[in-house]
């Protein structure tokens, strides 16, 4: 039995504005949560609640479904009730300066501690010179110096005295000290010496040898004395410095009594300041020979940079746990980095140049990352995983990790990490990661799967209206009247591609709400109504449909050959869907089929030239199989058929044209013409059942536009799979034309129904003898195939006869 054309109600499920329980969105409380994402919401809540390791979250869903906003909203709510995490600073490690220490301080205290340390340095710079200028220190130092000076003098004085007693002089020469015999203060000349009695000469020599011995002894002791003197002075310095520093720092120690780590650091500061007290006593290096810029760099941060506190995480004035979204998740932006400054052509660094990353800022809370951005940043994903596994943030450049960095750099102490990572991204990335990365399922145990559509019910429609109310309220738009909301609901169903569903693609809806408000504003009204929404939809289409219009124009002009009247054997109107950006539209295409005697093959010309995708090829193979099972059970199929998408200059994929191709093939075989006022879409299985396809609305509208341009005759229409009825949300003009009987949409379940609608000739069913009724399409097909088979046999016999000779 042939199906009837669909009624207007079946072609478009209206949203009854009168049934909506509000007059305008002004009466509605704005939506406070996500729309139609119950599963995702449950997953996000679960992930927030699970504090165990590895329960990080991946929010997957199509772009524009409001994943990020939802995740942020829920995390912010949860974070507000959680404690503010600690502050973190990096400070100098006095024992190993290339390994700066990480200091944890209660939230909001790091800046205060930094200022305390600055103040301490100022205090020491004032107090230490004062102490060392003091009377007591100077006297004690002078005493030490005097003691050693006296010791020197005594030692050399002894030599000099003994020398003088024996008329020998101790003389300083440019090359050392010399001993020589003297008389009246003058050295005896060699001649004078030679004239001395021999005994006298011997006496001189003996005395001088002895004096030289003594002098050598004294000279050897000198360096040791100097060391001892320096050590005594150093000891004195340490004593004075320790007293002053201890006094100045006492208050700090008391203040941080409960923070052992801070106390330990302060101890190290105290010990270092005592050891390097000289620096507090000298004025800052001011070498006039250095260029001004160099001096400025050297003095930057003062000479006491090592006592500075580098606050990397400051929670002052924060409430609750942090929720951080890192928009640019490079490796360095995640784990932080050690910066360098150029000094005299060399790059130098210290702990003051350590910069925190997003992980530091989010520590103790939540870090949201865009999965695609994360994966496209070199080293970032691997670094994030390493950090999650180790539960600590280690600042390391990729070059260091790879061992490529040969220059000296810092190895800052890792900071313990306790945070939850939320990746937001497309489903495909989630599936790829799950499949290819063994770490991923371990580290991201929770998936929040965002749906792209939701049920269309009274509740969801009201929820949808509240969503509109929220946008209106947030963006201060004009309220939407119930007719406008109803039209929005209908458009949401169209976007979902299903009359029984609504899209959850919030971004599209929000855009449409804004644009409708704009058109209402152009009209100068205070409330948005259905015509404004329609205008916004039409304007969106108009802005995007240049290509569609060109195609329609070329069809109308006959450049692209599409017949909408008459009947032709082996020629049928198929329907394809084109997607350009976010705009999709239907494009009618002509499929033709030619048959001849052959070896039972159906040639898909698209596939032969590699323009057909695998799904398309599959569809053609299925229809071949259908043909074989329908007509080739008792004899070989001796046909050769060629199927082609005419005027197709790009690839074709999908199996939605397989039923269409089958109709063309049957028409060609039966030599029964197909009505060109009809177009067809639908895939077919091996049993001849017509199956649902996608883009049904666009396809129908595509053929309608062609017919409309040439004038609707009342005979034109489209055959669609019956399973697609629920997806119909056609354009108002199409619905109106159908309602007026000027255009038709037939739901088809089987090939038999379809071929009869297309040719006006019944398909025919086999009788008890397995024969199709006379005049039916299948009878003609069977007859044609029988004729091919006979001819094939004759040809074969003739060939064999020839070969027998």
């Amino acid at each position: 039995m042939l199906p009837s054309p669909l009624t207007a109600d079946q072609l478009y499920r209206r949203c009854d504005a009168a049934a909506l329980p509000f007059a305008s969105t002004a009466e509605l409380a704005p939506a406070d949560g996500p729309l139609g994402q119950d599963r995702a919401v449950a997953a996000v809540r679960f992930a927030i609640g699970m504090r165990s390791s590895g329960y990080n979250l991946y929010a997957l869903g199509p772009v524009g479904t409001g994943k990020l906003a939802l995740v942020r909203q829920f995390l912010a709510q949860a974070a507000a009730e959680q404690p503010v995490p600690d502050d973190w600073c990096y400070v100098n490690n006095f024992a190993e300066p290339h390994r700066p220490k990480a200091l944890r301080l209660p939230a909001g205290q790091a800046q205060a501690f930094r200022k305390e340390m600055e103040h301490l340095v100022e205090e020491l710079a004032a107090a230490l010179p004062a102490a060392f200028e003091g009377e007591e220190y100077r006297t004690r130092r002078q005493v030490i110096e005097e003691q050693w000076k006296e010791r020197h003098e005594a030692a050399f004085g002894e030599v000099q005295k003994r020398a003088a007693e024996h008329s020998v002089a101790l003389i300083r020469t440019p090359v050392g000290l010399a001993l020589a015999p003297v008389r009246d203060g003058e050295v005896l000349s060699p001649d004078e010496f030679g004239k001395l009695p021999e005994d006298e000469q011997h006496r001189y020599k003996a005395v001088m040898a002895e004096l030289q011995e003594q002098l050598e002894h004294t000279l050897k002791a000198l360096p040791q004395w100097e060391r001892q003197q320096r050590e005594q002075i150093r000891q004195l310095d340490r004593e004075v410095a320790a007293w002053v520093i201890g006094h100045v720092m006492e208050e700090m120690f008391n203040r941080h009594d409960r923070l052992p780590q801070v106390k330990e650091y302060l101890e190290a500061v105290r010990a270092d300041a005592v050891e390097t007290v000289d620096e507090f006593l000298k004025p800052p290096a001011e070498d006039e020979k250095l260029p001004l810029r160099a001096r400025r760099i050297l003095s930057e941060g003062g000479q006491f940079r090592r006592y500075k506190v580098n606050v990397v995480v400051d929670r002052d004035a924060q409430s609750g746990a942090p929720v951080i979204y890192e928009d640019h998740p490079t490796q360095a932006n995640l784990v932080g980095r050690v910066e360098h400054i150029a000094q005299f052509g060399a790059l130098v660094t210290d702990f003051n140049l350590i910069k925190a990353g997003a992980l530091h800022r989010a520590n103790g809370g939540y870090l949201i990352l865009d999965a695609r951005k994360l994966l496209t940043q070199p080293f970032a994903y691997e670094e994030l995983k390493r950090t999650l596994r180790a539960h600590e943030i280690r600042i390391e450049s990729p070059y260091q990790s790879l061992g490529l960095n040969s220059t000296v750099s810092l190895e800052p102490e890792p900071i313990p990490m306790d945070l939850k990572i939320v990746l937001v991204g497309e489903p495909m990335l989630y599936y790829l990661l799950s499949h290819h990365d063994p770490d991923f399922p371990v580290l991201f145990k929770v998936a929040a799967d965002f749906d792209y559509r939701m049920e269309r019910s009274e509740d969801t429609v009201v929820g949808f209206a509240r969503l509109v109310a929220r946008v209106v309220s947030q963006e201060k738009l004009k309220p939407f009247g119930r007719s406008a909301v109803a039209r929005l609901v209908e458009h949401a169903a169209r976007l979902a591609g299903d009359a029984e569903k609504l899209t959850t693609h919030v971004a599209s809806i929000v855009d449409l709400v804004r644009e409708s408000d704009y058109w209402a504003g152009q009209d100068g009204v205070v409330q948005v109504e259905a015509p404004h929404v329609q205008q916004a939809v039409d304007a969106q289409v108009y802005r995007s449909d240049r290509v569609r219009e060109h195609i329609q124009e070329e069809i109308a002009r006959g450049t692209i050959l599409i017949d909408t009247a008459g009947a032709v054997v082996g020629q049928i109107n198929a329907l394809a869907v084109w997607q350009l950006g976010r705009f999709t539209f239907g494009k009618p295409s002509r499929i033709t089929c030619r048959v001849r005697m052959g070896k039972g093959e159906v040639v898909d010309i698209e596939r032969e030239v590699q323009l057909g995708g695998p799904l398309h090829s599959k569809g053609v193979l299925i229809l071949s199989s259908y043909l074989s099972s329908k007509f080739g059970l008792d004899r070989p199929l001796s046909l050769s058929a060629s199927l082609v998408f005419e005027q197709s200059y790009g690839g074709v994929d999908g199996d939605s044209a397989s039923s269409t191709e089958l109709y063309a093939l049957l028409s060609a075989l039966a030599e029964v013409p197909i009505h060109q006022n009809l177009a067809v879409t639908g895939s077919v299985n091996q049993y001849g059942q017509v199956q649902a396809i996608g883009g049904v609305n666009e396809k129908i509208e595509g053929f309608f536009d062609v017919c409309c341009a040439r004038g609707l005759t009342g005979e034109q229409g489209v055959l669609i799979p019956a399973a697609n009825i629920r997806h119909l949300m056609l354009r108002p003009d199409v619905v109106d034309a159908c309602a007026a009987g000027r255009f038709h949409v037939w739901p088809v379940e089987t090939i038999e129904q379809g071929i009869e609608l297309l040719t006006g000739v019944p398909a025919g069913a086999t009788d008890d003898k397995g024969e199709f009724p006379p005049g039916s399409v299948f009878r003609k097909v069977a007859a044609r195939l029988g004729s091919f088979a006979r001819k094939a046999r004759a040809v074969s016999a003739a060939e064999e006869g020839k070969n027998g000779k």
């Binding site: 050399f156 440019p174 050392g176 060699p190 001088m208």
Partner: protein
């Protein structure tokens, strides 16, 4: 006020030691201010010449502690190098001066030659010690400096370090005639170099010190000089490390103990 001793001829003893070179710098500075003539004197020590090749003399290196006989060639070479260095330093220092300068080389005993030359000078500058500053001083004051201060009736400036710029000059005022001359000379120097003059007035008791301080100020004030003054002990005076301390000859005995440069005014 007592007139300051005239400052027309400045003699500086040179031996290439760092302090003698500091003395040369100070000499040219003072000479430029006062328009005085500078004479540099290098004495080839007769004792050193005699050491070379002496059959009995022995020598020991201060650097390596090695014993060896004085080598005639090495000593001569070292002396030549010293002389060349001093000559060059003198030429460099006095080159920019407008007034006359001369460089003398004498042979003989250093003290004797210096004292002889000092007789014609208004101011004598000597290094406090011939050894480099970095070495541990073997004696507080070098024998040459001590001999010159003791042996001449001219003002002697004993350098213990380079003269730092823009630091006050201190003068010790004990009411003696030499102290008045010292005060006058110090005032002139302070005025010429544009620095403050600190008057230190030591006395047995605070009242006497204040009186002496007032007396000194009264002498200086007509010159409209920036003056600081305070009663103090002598030990304090030395520890203040002024750029230069001007002492009357009556306080000459302090010279040994003071770490700063000292100008002794007879």
């Amino acid at each position: 006020m007592t007139a300051a001793p005239p400052l027309a001829r400045v003699l500086v003893a040179l031996d290439a030691s760092p302090l003698s070179l500091a003395a040369l710098q100070a000499a040219t500075l003072l000479a430029r201010r006062a328009g005085a003539e500078v004479t540099g004197l290098f004495v080839e020590d007769v004792n050193l010449s005699r050491l070379a090749g002496h059959p009995a003399a022995t020598s020991i290196s201060l650097v390596g502690g090695l014993r060896r006989d004085p080598d005639h060639q090495i000593l001569e070479h070292a002396l030549r190098v010293q002389l060349a260095a001093v000559r060059r330093a003198f030429a460099d220092a006095t080159g920019p001066l407008e007034q006359a300068s001369k460089f003398l080389v004498r042979q003989g005993r250093v003290e004797a030659e210096l004292l002889a030359a000092a007789a014609d000078a208004d101011l004598v500058l000597v290094g406090g010690c011939g050894r480099p500053e970095t070495m541990v001083p073997l004696v507080r004051l070098g024998s040459i400096a001590r001999a010159v201060v003791a042996g001449t009736a001219r003002p002697v400036l004993v350098m213990r370090h380079s003269l730092p710029a823009a630091q006050p000059i201190a003068v010790l005022y004990d009411s003696s005639a030499a102290a008045r001359r010292a005060l006058a000379l110090a005032s002139n120097l302070a005025a010429a170099t544009g620095v403050r003059l600190d008057i230190i007035a030591p006395a047995a008791d605070p009242a006497a010190a204040r009186a002496r301080e007032a007396e000194a100020r009264a002498l200086v004030e007509p010159i409209l000089l920036a003056v600081g003054s305070h009663p103090a002990t002598l030990a304090e005076a030395g520890r203040r490390r002024p750029a230069l301390l001007v002492l009357p000859v009556s306080a000459r005995h302090l010279l040994e103990a003071l770490p700063c440069s000292v100008l002794v005014v007879p």
